[in-house]
């Protein structure tokens, strides 16, 4: 990657220069973005009030501990997925990579390998899965939606082949305690410390490096990015590989956290992760979104899940319903907002006099 950036210095400047003519558009977008994240904070406050109304146990350290622990893996996967979606691609196979990593971990552990050696192998396998997705997308020009639907089934199937219908549970307690426990006597789970470290890393990568800027450029307009000299395929391949790598890490985390490996682990996690990313204000069409927004969205999702779980009367089905509704809403919301603003812009440009007289 460093070779990439130093070898092509003009390209790093290019998207910025390119973006200049549309700076006003960018500012407007950013204003909308700002409003989106403000909206998320508003929703968070609303969830806090609503949750506290459901149960006085809602705003407690306990809720944060267990609620965030539940979302650990989804949160980790959402980070890498953010970069993929900003680049206008998608990776639906993350939960299956998680399962494959978990199954592999169990099988190697059963084979008597030390955990310290198993974990790098799992991470490498995850990265390989991601690279496989990336190669299919970039070298064969296939749409990532189709590719990763395929590998969603493929990797899950491989997990089943690896581990069968058994489940492995005898992982060493010092590791499982680490994955299940809290950080230094606080109510913050260790998994959230891991998440925080990765969130900073991905935040810096996306928002403060030339590589990050090239992701936005590719997501906003792939062709333009290509003609300004960005190595589009290479960037995408790296993003898919990262996504697989992080999914494998999530697989290790969930295996140790539950001290169980089974092939059906994490089914449907990809939808929650994508919901978090889109709800965080990342455009499904690529080109915009922030890690901060995704973190807010994860807080919101976790809060809503916890509130529904704490309710005596609301069935767990509602967690799925609300997650689904949020997914639709977060795609629909910005779309409607853009149409409204476009309509307004068109309206004002057509009738400037009228606008000034009224």
């Amino acid at each position: 990657m460093p070779a990439d950036t130093t070898a092509t210095p003009p390209t790093t400047g290019a998207p910025a220069r390119d973006a200049e003519p549309t700076a006003t558009g960018g500012a407007r977008l950013r204003a909308v973005l700002g409003r989106w994240e403000a909206l998320l904070i508003g929703l968070l406050v609303l969830t806090a009030v609503f949750g506290q109304g459901i149960s006085s146990e809602f705003l407690t350290g306990d809720s944060f501990t267990t609620g965030s622990l539940d979302l650990s893996e989804v949160a980790l996967m959402a980070l890498a997925l953010t970069l993929v979606i900003v680049a206008a691609e998608i990776d639906l196979s993350v939960a299956s990579v998680l399962a494959l990593s978990s199954a592999l971990m169990a099988e190697l552990w059963n084979g008597g390998m030390p955990l310290e050696l198993i974990m790098p192998i799992c991470l490498a396998a995850g990265a390989a899965c991601g690279a496989f997705n990336g190669l299919l997308v970039t070298r064969f020009g296939l749409p990532s939606l189709a590719v990763t639907i395929g590998t969603l089934a493929l990797f899950r199937g491989l997990a089943l082949v690896v581990i069968g219908d058994e489940s492995v549970t005898d992982f060493p307690a010092n590791y499982t305690d680490l994955a299940f426990g809290n950080f230094a006597g606080t109510f913050v789970p260790n998994t959230m410390v891991l998440f925080a470290i990765l969130a900073v890393a991905f935040g810096v990568l996306l928002h403060a490096t030339p590589f990050g800027r090239s992701i936005y450029a590719i997501g906003a307009n792939e062709e333009a990015a290509y003609f300004t000299g960005l190595r589009v395929k290479r960037v995408k391949l790296i993003l898919f590989t990262l996504s697989g790598l992080v999914a494998a890490l999530a697989g290790i985390v969930i295996t140790l956290r539950n001290s169980t490996a089974a092939a059906n682990v994490g089914q449907g996690f990809e939808l929650t992760a994508i919901t978090a990313v889109l709800l965080g204000g990342v455009s499904i069409f690529g080109g915009r979104g922030t890690i901060a927004g995704v973190i807010l969205a994860l807080l919101l999702l976790g809060g809503i899940q916890k509130a529904l779980l704490l309710s005596q009367s609301i069935s767990s089905y509602w967690i799925q319903i609300v997650t689904g509704a949020l997914l639709v809403g977060s795609v629909l919301g910005p779309n409607i907002a853009r149409r409204v603003s476009e309509a307004r812009r068109r309206g004002t440009s057509h009738t400037p006099e009228e606008g000034s007289t009224t």
Partner: protein, 362 residues
């Protein structure tokens, strides 16, 4: 990009402020939890000995956690917990995951513990994965009762087992023996050849057949219908054709026994070859009514839940602690004794025949 950074920073700060606010509110309640959990651990240490004469506490609150919502069998089972708690002046709420996974159950357990119930009754999706969460529950003074499918033994006080392997084997052999006058050839129609529970049952059946009472009965074949309706149907057909002297068939699987009954009901052997097995009354009702099947067996899921609810109430009231040999009164089911490893066995299989089948709807 530059202009984005200040606003992102501001948002992050806002998020941090919110987290901090959460943290502050948490600090207060963490202390709160500590005091309440230490109090409860005190009480539990002082009442470490079971007091069989202790009053059942009024207004007991329990949470029962099925493997998955929307499964009629489990709903029936957990309605038994409701019944027991209502009878004892308490209340139970059923909170289950929408998928039968351990991690969803962990979320439910954690949320349930926050509501500080007196007891949790759980049918585990995975014995070990849910154990840490259940142990945390126990540390906070919540009694844990396993039922139906056990969780790790150190993560619960007692486990209510619907039936033992031994009882299934013995009861099924007796059921078919009774019907054929303890004389003649019998066959078994099982599920898959490597189904652990089936094989354990069949092993007990073979041992039971060695007893003097069953000396005139001969097991001629174990067939495998793979828990597939069509395959079981064909295997039953094969058994009847291959063994003209066959007097009875045991099919200890709900799929197998229903398929076998369907074959028999249309066959000239109807009423001549006896069939028993483990079946659902709703699936078997018409075959009992039309005379194909005299009787079959199963446990009553609602009783499993009822016994678990009674055990939970006895635990929460200090009547039992989960030690082997302790006895407790379980309402309409009578007295039960806790066995090794905290296991409580509901009892022998319930036999369903034309006399009682209409009392059951599951």
């Amino acid at each position: 990009m530059k202009s984005a950074r200040p606003s992102a920073l501001r948002l992050l700060l806002a998020a941090l402020a919110l987290v901090a606010a959460l943290a502050f509110s948490a600090c207060g309640s963490t202390k709160d939890d500590e005091s309440s959990s230490s109090a409860s651990s005190n009480t539990s240490s002082s009442s470490n000995e079971a007091n069989p004469d202790a009053e059942i506490k009024q207004g007991l609150k329990t949470v029962s956690i099925p493997k998955q919502l929307g499964n009629p069998y489990e709903e029936f089972e957990h309605s038994g917990v409701d019944e027991a708690l209502k009878e004892l002046g308490g209340s139970n709420s059923i909170k289950g995951p929408t998928d039968a996974s351990a991690s969803s159950q962990i979320s439910i357990i954690n949320a349930a513990v926050q509501q500080k119930p007196d007891a949790i009754i759980i049918a585990g999706n995975d014995p070990d994965a849910v154990a840490p969460a259940l142990k945390q529950a126990a540390q906070r003074g919540v009694k844990v009762v396993g039922m139906d499918s056990d969780v790790a033994a150190d993560a619960r006080s007692v486990f209510v087992n619907q039936v033992t392997t031994q009882l299934v084997g013995e009861n099924q052999v007796e059921s078919i023996g009774k019907q054929i006058g303890y004389k003649g050839d019998i066959a078994i129609l099982s599920a898959t050849a490597n189904a652990t529970n089936q094989n354990a049952w069949i092993k007990v059946m073979k041992e039971t057949l060695k007893k003097p009472k069953y000396k005139d009965m001969k097991l001629v074949k174990v067939a495998y219908g793979d828990d597939d309706d069509q395959k079981s149907f064909q295997e039953m057909q094969g058994l009847i054709q291959a063994y003209p002297n066959l007097k009875g068939v045991i099919s200890p699987t709900t799929v197998g026994v229903a398929a076998a009954a369907r074959y028999l009901s249309k066959s000239p052997q109807k009423g001549k070859v006896k069939l028993t097995g483990l079946g659902f009354p709703n699936q078997m009702r018409k075959f009992v009514k039309d005379g194909t099947v005299d009787e079959f067996q199963l446990w009553v899921p609602k009783d499993v839940g009822y016994l678990a609810g009674q055990a939970a109430a006895a635990l929460a009231s200090g009547r039992i602690t989960g030690k082997e040999g302790e006895k407790f009164e379980a309402g309409r089911l009578g007295e039960y004794t806790i066995g090794a490893d905290g296991e409580i066995v509901l009892g022998p299989l319930t036999t369903f025949s034309a006399d009682n089948i209409d009392d059951f709807d599951f």
